[in-house]
Assembly symmetry: none
């Protein structure tokens, strides 16, 4: 099996100023085409160190993916390191990247500076993977039958270039066929899921691998993979086990592969020509921004209100002041009234509402920080539930939001 | 100066299933006591590999911190690797950790299993840092004047043990200081910034390092660092250069160290007892969720509306239908009316509004995908501007949102 190492460059990583998320993304992508990552490295912005560690990586892996250190500024020196490794220090302008740089500067109304232009400089013995989303090109160095890819550190530029990277690898290396199918669940903790499917898991043929991929915003993903062998046999085998797994988990299952709670809700509402609105207190717009992250969401999402103050809850959503003075804003009565109010205000088929305490302050003994009430209002029903989490503020807001979208999904019968 | 390497163990990291946040935490802690992390590693759950990479780390750093591979199912691996490195394969039960394990099992109502008991086994030539929050002990191996610490991978157990680690390091090693100061800017692209400060940068004393940290949501951060020497001299030197840099960049500078656009806006509005509301179209709640991510934001943020459909723009914000049929929703007139409408609707001192095309669809020749109009309305002014970006949908939404918060910041005079 082909091996790869992933190397991130940047002092900001080594002083702990930022968490490196690129390496995980890259590994997942490589894994999905059947390449095993045998180690990861993070190294400083020092040319000698970079050359040293990249040589080490090339000696231990068939493929090396480097990110970072390609920006226009002086602390970005990866290119010189690549030139050194390539055996020629000569850099040449790459026309394709240069024209991207020109159009980006033009779009932003920035004058094209030498620094911008020089981002199109590439070691003469390297190839270019044009970066259409940013100014720094992806670079490929072929060395003794091995492939070294250098990508910009900006996550979405890196992610976009990884498509070209995996394409190039598949073209040049002979890798085994691999088939993955991912089942996506929400509402059952990873450990409970594992218990529920233990028997089934024990009977999986050894060539089919199961991976648990938990995520607070999407739920727990269960990925079945088969490496090698005839691709059609792999599909047949995996699809059978996939179907059995799906049956076992009932309505905890909401999607496959790249689905998200917001994308399946979008598809369902669109197919029914139904519409949605939101009334958010503690989630502060997070739910609306998840829904509107789906391309085309304007066809199902009319709008939403962030009713942060009680005045707004009363004035815009028609929440009875007596509820706020009585049960308080974090209560079943309040979220029910908020959801019904949003449905009226935005004239939509459905509406969701949240009211809770994200923390760190504002909690009490009866309503600790991490408590949320959520509601869904539809043409002929309004339902509400309470949930309690114990993360920090941002984590709680995420959990509140995905819990609400899942509650909506279940009440839509998806 | 003293160097350290950080090594995380676990297949779940190498297949990209989880993002390693421990390394950043550990580096920050080491950095704060003046130790420079010279590289980070992530390696698989394979004893031979672990021994191999830990030896490599010991050969290149004075201190090595290892996390992971100490759980009840994996402990053989890391512990045997440590035993091998220590020169004796013999493991002994550690009484302190054993009693912690007993009490944890008792609390959880679990019977003490052999697996649990064996977590107290430690290589005889190693010392123990008792872990009071979990069953796996911290382990210290002293080898040829170097220190190798092995910690459990559970983040809060690791974080708790890091206090003992830094204490031990301070006790045994004499360490130099590190001083960092970070200036945060917005609105000037990294390459233009570099041109503006090129002369200043060239005259920086060699012992002061400058790093550029671009981020689409916070702007470009400029970090000055000085390693070693007298801490007061370092502070004095860096603060002087920091002040000069700040003067050079004028109102592009909005904060220091951990500030964000939303946190400086929050602080300013709070100090003035002023309030804010939002009217978002294309940003779909992202701006509100950025503002409400700040703890205590309810004291300045009354609420916001996501006016996704024209009906909502007209009905809730009072946008003149003639504007929508004439100039369209993505226009200066529309965002001005939206901002003024939000200010009225939520009765706030200030309001911001956005209307644009996040993409991928909906663009035209005059208004390509990536185009946004933003506005700020205040007690006695309304201002608007247009901006164009070229990312994918999510990236455009992020850029639209930070551009809007920066436009608000500038108009507040922050």
């Amino acid at each position: 099996m082909l091996t790869a190492s992933v190397c991130t460059i940047g002092d900001e990583i080594l002083i702990g100023q930022i968490v490196d998320t690129n390496s995980a993304y890259i590994s997942k992508e490589l894994n999905s085409i059947g390449i095993k990552v045998n180690f990861m490295l993070s190294v400083p912005d020092e040319e000698e160190q970079i050359v040293n560690y990249l040589s080490l990586s090339l000696s231990r892996s068939d493929i090396v993916i480097v990110t970072g250190g390609l920006g226009p500024t002086k602390d970005d020196i990866t290119k010189n390191a690549l030139a050194t490794l390539s055996g020629s220090s000569r850099l040449l302008y790459n026309e394709d990247q240069l024209s991207v740089i020109r159009s980006i500067c033009h779009k932003r109304g920035i004058e094209l500076s030498d620094l911008n232009r020089d981002q199109a400089l590439v070691p003469e013995k390297c190839e270019v993977l044009t970066n259409n989303m940013g100014t720094a090109p992806g670079i490929l160095l072929r060395k003794e039958g091995k492939l070294l890819f250098s990508l910009p550190g900006v996550p979405y530029e890196m992610a976009n270039l990884m498509k070209k990277v995996t394409g190039e690898i598949i073209k040049t290396k002979d890798i085994e066929d691999i088939y993955h199918k991912t089942l996506i669940t929400f509402g059952i903790p990873e450990s409970s899921l594992a218990n529920m499917i233990a028997g089934w898991e024990d009977n999986l043929p050894s060539e089919i691998k199961l991976a648990y991929l938990p995520d607070p915003l999407t739920g727990v993903k269960l990925r079945l993979s088969k490496y090698g062998g005839n691709i059609n046999d792999s599909k047949k085998a995996i699809n059978e086990h996939f179907a059995a797994l799906k049956d076992m988990l009932g309505n905890a299952v909401y999607g496959e592969d790249n689905d998200t709670l917001e994308s399946v809700i979008f598809r369902f509402l669109k197919s029914k020509s139904a519409t949605l609105s939101t009334a958010e207190s503690c989630t502060g717009g997070k739910i609306a921004s998840m829904i509107t992250s789906v391309p085309g969401s304007s066809s199902i999402f009319a709008g939403g209100i962030i009713a942060y103050s009680n005045e707004v809850k009363i004035k815009s959503l028609g929440v009875d002041p007596a509820i706020l003075s009585g049960s308080g804003a974090v209560s079943e009565e309040c979220v029910r009234a908020m959801a019904q109010g949003a449905r009226k205000m935005f004239n939509t088929s459905y509406a969701v509402a949240t009211s809770g305490i994200a923390g760190p302050d504002g909690g009490s003994v009866e309503k600790p920080s991490g408590t949320v009430w959520i509601a869904v209002a539809g043409p002929d029903f309004t339902v509400a539930k309470k949930a309690v989490f114990n993360g920090d503020r941002l984590r709680n807001i995420d959990r509140f939001s995905s819990e609400t979208l899942n509650f909506l999904r279940l009440n839509l019968g998806i």
